[in-house]
């Protein structure tokens, strides 16, 4: 019997098989996903991109035209997510997308739990006085709810 056949994967190996990447479809998203791709490559993990569309709270009282505009906005976000996923899939085929509505932190952590994600990657680029004041940064909120490790990555362009 070959000795190599008896060698098993060491217990210390880190298991990262599914990575969930939260994107806000801003100009920073591509960089965040690229960073996540490099991690996914190293672990041989599947990549899931999630974008959460936040419907404005006043939509219930808006006119029909307003609703149509918002619906167009939602479709536009969905289309941009599909485009981003296609772009990434050309380089890393094991990539899928997920579009959700509601509170970003809640939806991201719920999706992570549903798909049993091993890691959530979140980009951070709202570090401004304005952003801090209005708590635009979702990373702390996601960490607050997450049940799996979270990697917070800052875009170098900040």
């Amino acid at each position: 019997m070959n000795y190599l056949d008896t060698v098993q994967e060491p217990e210390t190996a880190l298991r990262v098989k599914t990575i969930l990447v939260a994107v806000d479809l801003s100009s920073h998203s591509e960089r965040t996903v690229t960073y996540a791709v490099s991690i996914a490559r190293q672990f041989g993990a599947s990549l899931k991109l999630i974008h959460v569309y936040v419907p404005p709270s006043a939509v219930e009282f808006g006119s029909e035209d307003m609703c149509r505009l918002l619906e167009e906005g939602r479709r536009d976000a969905e289309r941009r997510l599909t485009n981003l996923t296609s772009q990434i899939r050309a380089k890393y085929p094991n990539c899928q997308s997920l579009f959700a509505n509601g509170d970003p932190a809640e939806q991201v952590t719920r999706a992570a739990a549903t798909m049993k994600a091993d890691l959530i990657v979140v980009g951070r680029h709202h570090h401004t006085l304005f952003g801090d004041f209005f708590k635009l940064d979702q990373a702390p909120k996601i960490i607050h709810r997450a049940r799996c490790p979270v990697l917070v990555w800052e875009d170098d362009d900040n």
């Binding site: 210390t12 190996a13 690229t34 490099s38 050309a90 570090h127 960490i143 490790p149």
Partner: protein, 167 residues
């Protein structure tokens, strides 16, 4: 210009996977008596074949500025206790990943000090061990870890460990 092409193609052209994690920094609050869960940090360091740096913080006792003998004794004991705790962590971590090194800082667990050390060390990742119950508490938003998340230019890996996994 597509940044994906720019960043990924050179790696594929070389046939190598992108290497971006050579130094991993793990801040530890030594003033807490709880066991530190370094499992994820060790596994990450093993995976990336990186150097693992344990940055220990120990809050100095208030009498440290007093120069009298007994105060010196207390301060030295405190300092040694922190060093022993840090080395305990280092030696335990070395069982999983040999290239683990200690860094001791006197003072409170401070996000800015962690960020400064990460920059000096040119760390590629900061791994923050957090217990599940801790990060869910309301105090987390005001904690130094939260400050670290907001200010650090180095990627922060929040290693959330369920309480029952903690040794």
């Amino acid at each position: 210009m597509n940044i994906c092409n720019e960043l990924i193609e050179p790696c594929e052209a070389n046939g190598n996977e992108p290497v971006f994690c050579k130094n991993i920094l793990v801040p530890i609050d030594l003033s807490k008596d709880a066991k530190v869960d370094l499992d994820t940090a060790i596994r990450l360091a093993e995976h990336y074949d990186a150097d693992l740096w344990l940055l220990g913080f120990s809050s100095e006792p208030a009498i440290s500025t007093d120069s009298r003998g007994i105060c010196h004794y207390v301060w030295n004991s405190w300092s040694r206790r922190a060093q022993v705790r840090l080395w305990d962590c280092v030696l335990e971590a070395r069982e999983g990943h040999y290239r683990t090194f200690p860094l001791l800082v006197g003072g409170h667990y401070d996000a800015h000090e962690i960020i400064r050390t990460a920059e000096r060390l040119m760390a590629d990742m900061i791994v923050v061990p957090v217990e599940e119950s801790d990060h869910r508490s309301t105090g987390f938003e005001k904690s130094q870890n939260n400050e670290l998340l907001r200010k650090s230019a180095t990627p922060v890996f929040v290693a959330i460990a369920p309480r029952h996994f903690t040794k």
